[in-house]
Amino acid sequence: MKKRQWLKALAVLGAFILLLATGGCGRQRVMGQKEIRIFLSLNEMDTFRQTLVDAAAAKAAEMGVYLHVEDAHGSIEEQVEQLKRAAAEEYDVILCSAVSTDTAVQLKMSAEQIPIVFFNSCPDDKYLEAGKYVYVGSDEQVAGQFQAEYVLGQMSGQQEINVVLIKGPRYHSATTGRTSGVKNTLEASGKKVNYIFEDSANWDTEQARELFALFLRTGNSADCVICNNDAMALGVLEAGRAAGMDFSKVQVLGVDATEDGCMAIENGEMAFTVYQSGKGQGEAAVEMAVRLAGGGDTKDMEGISEDGKYVWVEFEKVDGGNVSQYRH
């Protein structure tokens, strides 16, 4: 009888703690002296990052750690300021999507000895260090590889493929990663691949539209248009639509599986996109942060690279067959 009462009391207490844990997000809790405190500095909020931050917050609540989120609004200075503050307030770990990955050294300095989990944009390999400065994200090469694999699957009968590549900003890590993923995979297929047009549209729909319109003027015909992101793919679609292009013959591919991108796939204009799991990245970032805060082992972390500097979150392939799952 007594035992049961005990159990009941325990259950009530447990439920209370759970309630506190789930409802206590964004508020500093007093319970438990060793509570892990995480500071998240965001470069600039967008829909993708919102998904990521939401997932991170949910994960933090689930793991019973405190997560504080701040937006740098695209300002390097503000981000540096934020990290200095995080250091002063003795946070255990910092989650950071760098406004500019070139500032990695400055960011590390500002954070003093606090470990940093970079996400969303990847600093140079030499600035990372296993167990201290790690990157959580998706391997951009894999996105390009998925695009190229899709193209190769669609054009298995052709020995020569004419490819238009619409790339992101010239020095952006996503641009180089995705592009080399595409090129390496196509090259490995042994087919003759002609890059009949290859230029940067800086992630921008309008620039991409203009570029593709310009390409159409050259009179060359493309088998596929591989874009580094969905926004640019939408620009390509616009230009193609204006020129009365048959998108069943010219495959347009993007990355990100944005709402518009998914719609274009549903319309049958866009062929393929790659979903970068913002949720997966947000969760992995928090899990990694907790491990770093505990000074714990990161070797058995899911998706960890061999050198321990990266945690790769899987990309997901999106085409006409499964696009409905990615609509919001």
């Binding site: 010239r170 020095y171 009949i196 047009f197 290859e198 230029d199 310009l214 050259t218 060359n220």
Partner: protein, 669 residues
């Protein structure tokens, strides 16, 4: 001293040097080796870092240089696109870029899709078919200007072009381009090398063509076709997309990608160059090591020399001492261990002197005593030999004794057996005796019964005699009676006759009567006859009784006689019985005795066996004694020999001791 020379005397100095110097050299070698190894690693990683940052900076500078040029072209292109110049204006712009920068002396030029080529007025550029040039074809694939692959331009120069579509309102597809010579790029590449003696070259990762190299002849050639192993290996590595720093053919080689292009900058430095410094350091260290070893050798030699100088004096003293010369004086008086040693040696010499002197005396005495002891030992040897002999004899005797004892033991055993048998027989005799006694007893009892029966018979005889006597008396009485009866019968007969005469008279009446009277007469006659017969019978009976009485008397007499005889026999029987009883007791006693004898014999047998065993032991002991006696003899023989040797030794000792000189004047001895 001279003898020891033959044994190769190694001096302490040589020994110390022999140990210290190799150790020092070994340590030096280890130190030099270790420092060389550590320094080499440090220098290697330092060089790697240096080469890494050198190539990084070089790449950045090349990138900056390329971007600077590209930006200039791009700016011009933007200007053209935004201003939409008239042909003359466009010509003016192109002219203004001609010779404007010596990186691209030909300036900008434009090809139109209809095959028109627009060039600066002064330019010697002359394209037969501009639409099929590398720059046009590649420029057509982009709007933002980018670099083409390396090619040979119409002027015969190895160049790369920056080209892109010119998006203006001309309604024509135009490609604008500018050339950069690979020679110039090579100069740029080589002038940005930061690390001394490092070399660099630029390769296109797509086709493996060398874009820039300090050897101009290599420019525009493919890495894979190169005759140089190093370049080929680099080519393989780039093909494998392996851009890690590595040591290739004795060159530390670093790779880096030039951002915005597919070019790879390769920078290398021969490891010999890297290790040249450390080799210098190594040589220096070896020299320092050698010098230190030499200095140390000299130093050690000197120190050791100084330290062991007194030892040399001491060595001389000890050598002299070894030669028997105890007259020598120890000179060294230093305060260290050697001084202490010297002092002790000196006191040792003094002690030795005294000791030798006393030994001298003692040895003489010993010599004499050895002689005596030799004699004594000779005598002892003889005595022991005698003893041994006696012992042997004793042994023989003991052996015989042992044999005898054994025989006794055997006999005793036999005796015991016999006695045991006898005892067995005695028991049987006893048994028989008992049976005999029993029988005798029965006999005696029977005799007694016979005697009883005899007495009864005697009594019966007497009663018979009495009865017979009574019968005799009765017969006489009968006789009397019969006489009476006879008389009666006679009278009766007479009466009957008278009655018969009367009955004859009485005639007929009297006839009956006459018959009765006749009958009575008859009866009387028969009675008279019967009586007569009785008389005869009685007579016979009386005779028979008389005979019987006689015989009875005789029987009685006989019986009495027999009874007497039986009584005698009984007595005799008693005597016999007693005798037999006595014999039985005797036999039993005899058996007891025999048992005692048996026990004694058994004991004796046991004892004699023990004796036999003991005698064996005695025999064994006496044999051991013989052996020991032999040993004693041998020992005494050895003692004798020893005594002889002792004598010899004593003499030698005497001689030896005589060698030590303890007095200066006694040196002659």
């Amino acid at each position: 001293m001279k003898e020891e020379r033959g044994k190769r005397v190694v001096s302490i100095k040589v020994k110390l040097l022999g140990i210290i110097l190799p150790m020092v050299i070994l340590i030096m070698v280890l130190l030099v080796g270790l420092s060389y190894f550590i320094s080499r690693n440090i220098i290697k990683s330092y060089s790697e870092n240096l080469l890494g940052s050198s190539i990084e900076n070089q790449a950045n500078q090349i990138e900056a240089w390329l971007n600077e040029n590209l930006a200039a072209f791009q700016a011009a292109k933007r200007a053209i696109e935004q201003t939409n110049p008239q042909p003359e204006q466009l010509q003016a712009i192109l002219d203004s870029y001609y010779g404007f920068n010596d990186n691209y002396p030909q300036g900008l030029y434009i090809a139109e899709e209809n095959g028109n080529l627009l060039i600066a007025t002064g330019s010697e550029k002359k394209e037969e078919d501009p639409l099929h040039t590398v720059w046009y074809e590649e420029g057509l694939t982009r709007w933002n200007m980018g670099f083409t692959r390396a090619y040979t331009s119409d002027t015969g120069a190895e160049v790369i072009s920056a080209s892109g579509i010119l998006k203006d309102d001309s309604g024509l597809i135009r490609v604008i381009s500018a050339d950069l010579t690979l020679e110039r790029i090579s100069i740029i590449v080589n002038s940005f090398i930061e690390m001394e003696q490092a070399r660099a070259f630029l390769v296109s990762s797509t086709d493996g063509v060398i874009l820039a190299h300090h050897e101009n002849s290599l420019i525009s050639t493919g890495l894979s076709q190169s005759g140089d192993d190093f370049l080929r290996t680099v080519g393989e590595k780039i093909d494998g997309q392996d851009l890690e720093m590595a040591e290739i053919m004795g060159n530390m080689t670093a790779f880096t990608q030039i951002q915005g292009t597919d070019w790879i900058l390769v920078s290398y430095i021969p490891t010999d160059v890297i290790y040249a410094d450390i080799k210098g350091v190594r040589t220096l260290m070896i020299v320092i090591g050698l010098v230190s070893v030499l200095i140390l050798a000299v130093l050690v030699e000197r120190v050791v020399h100084m330290v062991i100088r007194p030892v040399k004096g001491l060595t001389d003293v000890i050598t002299a001492m070894t030669g028997g010369d105890f007259t020598i004086q120890v000179g060294a008086k230093s305060g260290d261990e050697i001084g202490v040693m010297s002092r002790h040696v000196e006191s040792f010499i003094i002690t030795m002197r005294q000791m030798i002197a006393s030994i001298h005396g003692v040895s003489r005495k010993l010599n004499e005593e050895a002689g005596t002891s030799n004699e004594v030992s000779g005598q002892m040897y003889d005595a022991s030999r005698l003893q041994s002999q006696s012992m042997k004899e004793l042994n023989v005797t003991v052996e015989q004794l042992s044999l005898s004892v054994n025989e006794i033991a055997d006999n005793a055993t036999t005796l015991a057996t016999v006695v045991a048998d006898t005892k067995e027989d005695g028991s049987q005799v006893d048994q028989k005796m008992r049976e005999t006694v029993e029988v005798s007893r029965h006999g005696k009892e029977d005799m007694q019964r016979v005697s009883g029966a005899m007495t009864d018979i005697n009594t019966s005889m007497r009663k018979l005699q009495q009865a017979i006597d009574k019968v005799g008396q009765a017969s006489e009485e009968i006789n009397t009676i019969t006489g009476v009866i006879g008389n009666i019968a006679d009278q009766t007969d007479l009466l009957s006759l008278n009655a018969s005469i009367e009955a004859a008279r009485a005639g007929e009446a009297g006839r009956g009567f006459a018959v009765v009277a006749m009958e009575i007469g008859q009866l009387a006659k028969t009675s008279a006859e019967a009586v007569h017969n009785i008389e005869i019978l009685i007579k016979e009976i009386s005779e028979l009784v008389g005979d019987t009485v006689r015989q009875t008397d005789e029987s009685v007499k006989n019986i009495e006689q027999s009874s007497r005889l039986v009584g005698d026999a009984l007595k005799t029987f008693d005597t016999i019985f007693d005798d037999i009883d006595g014999v039985s007791s005797l036999v039993q006693e005899m058996i007891k005795k025999v048992e005692q004898v048996d026990d004694v014999a058994t004991n004796m047998a046991a004892i004699s066996e023990e004796q036999a065993a003991s005698s064996q032991e005695i025999l064994a002991t006496s044999e051991t004694m013989v052996e020991q006696a032999n040993h004693i003899t041998e020992s005494s023989e050895r003692v004798s020999e020893g005594a002889q040797e002792l004598t010899a030794s004593a003499e030698e000792l005497y001689g030896q001791v005589a060698r030590f000189r303890i007095e200066k004047e006694a040196g002659a001895r």
